[in-house]
């Protein structure tokens, strides 16, 4: 349970960091908060040849809101993002999700950008990036490029970050005026990985009906799964169902989610139980998001 030997660099600037990554090639691995990487090292599931420790890049320890987006720098810890009142007001889904990320002590050290780059299919923030359609900014000696959420997740624990690139920032759109969001998940113990989790985003039309409803699912696929639930819960398209139920037909949305997910079985839960949870949690998250949206519209 000790890390294997590796080379080590501790750059003092982004320019220096990407220069090291360019020189180390596929051997290089970025160390930020280390709350996922160091367990992998300790258990020898990962054996990178060279670690590039970015903990001195304080220029990346920022969280800001501007131009309709929340920007999170690569060295912003989960706890820092969670405690930021401006972020909580601009995009409440971020704090709703971060409260479910591990435990407070892990959140003190782990970085939000790092957890997204890690691309764990049971990660809350990967689901948030996918649901909100955020972007990840990647830097290398060749310059910068921006990757959208839909292109970013390639598979379990695999994201579109090349060996010579450093993810410097994640950008997430703020919550629209007549929209609401909620996160619901079930884990075996508080702070554990979710057996299944659902992040829901609901937008209302002028009459207060559902004009758009989407949800992101964690722990049921190799990458964050997005399902459009608008029609299932009687919103938009034709508007036929809207008059019938101001609250939307959330049970139908739950049934659609159960039909659409194809989870696997493991030590923690059977596929059937995960499928059941996808349905139940869809209803809970949608109800929460709907109440949130109505509360914001009334306010």
């Amino acid at each position: 349970m000790k890390p294997p030997p590796f080379g080590y660099s501790r750059p003092e600037s982004v320019a220096e960091a990407v220069a090291v990554l360019a020189s180390t090639g596929p051997d290089g691995k970025v160390l930020a908060g280390g709350q996922s990487l160091v367990p992998l090292l300790n258990m020898r599931l990962a054996t990178p040849g060279h670690l590039v420790d970015i903990n001195r890049l304080t220029e990346l320890a920022y969280v800001s809101v501007a131009g309709g987006h929340v920007m999170i720098g690569a060295l912003a810890r989960h706890a820092q993002v969670l405690a930021d009142p401006v972020v909580a007001a601009a995009q409440p889904l971020i704090a709703q999700a971060l409260r479910l990320v591990a435990h407070p002590v892990i959140r003190n050290r782990g970085t939000t950008v790092g957890s997204i780059v890690h691309a764990d299919p049971s990660g809350e923030m990967t689901a948030v990036l996918a649901l909100l359609g955020g972007t990840v900014l990647l830097a290398s000696t060749g310059g910068e490029r921006s990757v959208s959420a839909e292109d970013f997740f390639l598979g379990p624990l695999e994201s579109d970050v090349r060996p010579d690139e450093l993810a410097t920032q994640v950008s997430l759109p703020v919550l629209a005026a007549r929209a609401g969001c909620a996160f619901a998940e079930v884990s075996r113990r508080s702070g554990d990985y979710a057996v299944c989790g659902v992040a829901a985003l609901v937008e209302l039309d002028d009459a207060g009906g559902i004009s758009r409803a989407r949800a992101a699912y964690l722990s049921v696929a190799g990458t964050p799964l997005i399902i459009d639930l608008t029609e299932a819960c009687g919103g938009a398209a034709g508007g036929a169902g809207r008059a019938g139920g101001a609250g939307g037909d959330l049970a139908a949305a739950g049934r659609l989610a159960m039909a659409r997910v194809s989870p696997g079985s493991d030590l923690h839960a059977t596929a059937a139980y995960r499928r059941h949870l996808a349905g139940v949690l869809s209803e809970r998250a949608l109800a929460g998001a709907l109440a949130h949206a109505r509360g914001r519209s009334d306010g």
Binding site: G7, R10, H50, P104
Partner: protein, 175 residues
């Protein structure tokens, strides 16, 4: 490839070894460590501060929790080289200079918050940081503070009581 010392701005005294300084419980310590040395092992093996316990070594149990610049972190999930220059507080640094127990330590004694004691250093550190942030936790908040630490003896009830008792002791001391 450039050597690590060139790119890191650190002193690499001999191949693969780094000279780092830590301020541990108020005392400056300089240590020569390989990059792969965990902070937990640096404290225990290099500095002989064996109060920091090592349980799972992958961030689950919380026994190795220490304060790094005042913030509670898992010392088994941090490299000693990353901590270079930081102020570290371990369980050995919690008592007052005259040896009297801190409020959290006293509360554990008052409430029987431990049995075998293996997890206790991590709990003491975690609760010390938790109460600094939230001096008057509710019962649920007390449970949230300790949610990331495992104890196989107590069933947690007395540890939760100790969190609330420690908050009370701190309030009484301030009056």
């Amino acid at each position: 490839m450039a050597s690590a010392s060139d790119q890191s701005g650190m002193t690499q005294s001999s191949p693969g070894l780094f000279d780092i300084s830590l301020i541990v419980n108020g005392a400056l310590q300089t240590v020569r460590v390989p990059a792969r040395r965990l902070l937990s092992d640096c404290l225990r093996h290099d500095l002989l501060l064996t109060g920091t316990h090592v349980g799972c070594e992958h961030g689950v149990c919380g026994a190795c929790t220490v304060l790094v610049d005042g913030v509670a972190v898992r010392s088994c999930l941090m490299l000693a080289v990353t901590a270079d220059g930081a102020r570290i507080t371990t369980v050995e640094g919690l008592a007052e200079p005259d040896g009297s127990l801190s409020a959290v330590q006293q509360a554990f004694a008052d409430c029987h918050g431990l049995q075998c004691g293996f997890c206790t250093p991590g709990f003491l550190i975690t609760i010390t940081a938790g109460l600094a942030e939230n001096p008057d936790p509710s019962l649920d908040e007390a449970r949230e503070i300790i949610g990331g630490s495992l104890c196989r003896c107590t069933g947690y009830q007395n540890i939760v009581k100790a969190v609330l008792r420690a908050a009370e002791l701190k309030r009484l001391a301030e009056q």
